[in-house]
Amino acid sequence: MTGTIAAMAERARTSLRPEGAAGTDNGVDGRNLPVPHEGDLRRHLAGVEPERRLNDWGRSERVENALDKLLADFFYRYWFRCEVEGIENVPATGGAMLVSNHSGALPPDAAMISKAVKEEHPHPRPVNITVEHFFKGYPGFSMLIPKLGCVAAHPANVHRLLYDEEQLVLVFPEGRKGTEKLYKNRYRLRRFGRGGFVEAAMRARAPIVPVCVVGAEEAAPIFAHLSPLQKMTGLIYAPLTPTFPHFGLLGMLGYLPAKFHIRFLDPIYFDEDNLDEDKSLVQTVAHDVRARIQENLFEMLEERESVWF
């Protein structure tokens, strides 16, 4: 695999310094540069320093590769035996937003989607996974999560990734409501937030690629919530799963070997400016995306003969 950081710099960016500016007084050279219009500061993005193993978001090539070899590979190939269809719907260049259903105590779906893009796509690209702000405030998670390519789900972060850096962003509009849902409610999508993800994609004019994941619900089923434990630890939730809490925090990784099917649906493009100001359109698109994922999920579940094979 080529370096993730280098891959993220695929887009031609300005070098760290304009040529010949090294020895001159700051700014004198640039005095005659045209000032671009407010919105387009993309050419001023910081260049990539090849000596670094982390990028500006805190993503670490080293940690990511290590975990990839140690866990993701094993889970992807042998444990979940992921089957992927429609990978060609993920654009090879430019920003795009992957929108998926979400489930599991420590959701395996994010890692598997990201791995699928890395393994199956003709132009493997790093996927930035949006996560709750909670993780930034919790010791341990705060250290590890950004290194694996997770970014806090702040509209400004999503916009920068999609528009300025033209990267892939994986979004779970169900958020916590998705991962909290009990086994008996499996594959029934929760509310898709307030449509913020559609607004972000429209503002960045990046296509939305809906993604359906089947298998994650059975791999990490939640039977109940242990609210006293949750209060004690300050975690966002403390689920009762087949291996948690009785096997400790590592029990969160105790997934059952359900067979994974990942389906990438046709992208939805937004070709006009200021679409995000039309709130009713935003809601319509959000609804539509949700309906398409739900529909495809049911279809995939119909076709599935066994949970395990």
Binding site: N26, V35, A46, G47, P50, W57, P146, K147, R160
Partner: protein, 443 residues
Amino acid sequence: MASSRRVLVTGLSTYWGGRLAQALEQDPEIDVIIGVDSEDPTRELDRTEFVRVSTQHALLRRIVEAAEIDTVVDTRLVVDSTTTSSRSAHENNVIGTMNILAACSGPGCKVRKLVFKSSAHFYGTAQDDPAFFTESMGRPHPPTTSIERDIVDAEAAVNEFAEHNPDTTVTVLRCTNVLGPDVRTSHTALFSLPAVPMILGFDPRYQFVHEDDVVGALAHVLRSDLAGAYNVAADGVLAFSEVVGLLGKPYLPILPPWGTGIAATVLKRAGLRLPPEMLGQLRFGRGLDNRKLKATGFVYRYTTRETVMKLAEHLRLAPILRGAQESFTYEREVEDFLRWSPHVRNAAVKGERETAAKPEPIEEPILASGEPVVVAEPEPQPEEPPVDHYDDLEAEEVISLLGSLEASDLAALRDYERETRARESVVTAIEAVLARRATGSRP
């Protein structure tokens, strides 16, 4: 004209005031530099005039009016709560700012530009921060520490001033944490420790800016006309572990994730002061979007990584140099003598001083590729051009001047231009004029 000519620096005796005045002294376009502070300057200055006055607005007003100041640069802001008590910081940051603003407004005031050096503590640190703050984002939460509250209040006062004085260009520079061989901050103190303490389980994102780049940014906004707020932060956001690694020090995750404040109090007893703003950064980190200032043509000389590496070099050398450098003491009588005595041969003294106080040579910059940049060998200094301030002229201005020059001067000018900037349009224009003269068809 957007460029500043008569500048008042408030807070001359702070680190930034002194550094800025030194930088402005090198700029021939700036005619007058006056610095005010309640304490003696801490840096050697040549032509800057120092007036000892605190921030009484009536007195400042008289100075501004008498000297026909067109630009006021406020560098006084206290951003580190370890340096002073919170009460005196408030007095300085909020009340002082209001007084300075009062001194620059009012009927008949000639101030056309106000530059306010603010701090990235304006944004604070919180769990739900964006990864990169842009200038248009406010804080997600109200300020939590007294320094942050001061900065927010001071900026509010500056904004109000800007609204009431539309003819004055008001620039606010929000500088992130500064590092460098010269500046002293809580962070340089933290990094000078034999091992760097961290909060257990956190590896925050950190961005720095080199001290020279802050001075450069202040000088840059004086040269151009930029209204509004601008972030000043170097390219690149590092993880704290990366910073500590570059410094070549071990990290010590001794601060507990819960009850960090209490642990900080204990450490304070032991002599290590971690201000609350720094505790916030050690937990959540902060990144700024620096593109707005870059889009105005400012070029940072160092990235965050290079800034940290510069500090690392300095820290390695510091124990050897300790005590070897003499600090500057201000002697009013000597300074007055040098500036005003009829017996001082001004030019000579100035020349001598300039060579003495020459800024240390910039080390070979390293580009992203790791290869040292091939810096053109300093060429033999070309002869003086026959036109005064030639280097400041634009190509069109030069061409319009050509008709008034003698042929010998033109030839010299052509050679000078070839040796220095080698602008095609200028060289061909000179040659055309020479050719015309040779054929005797002088218009």
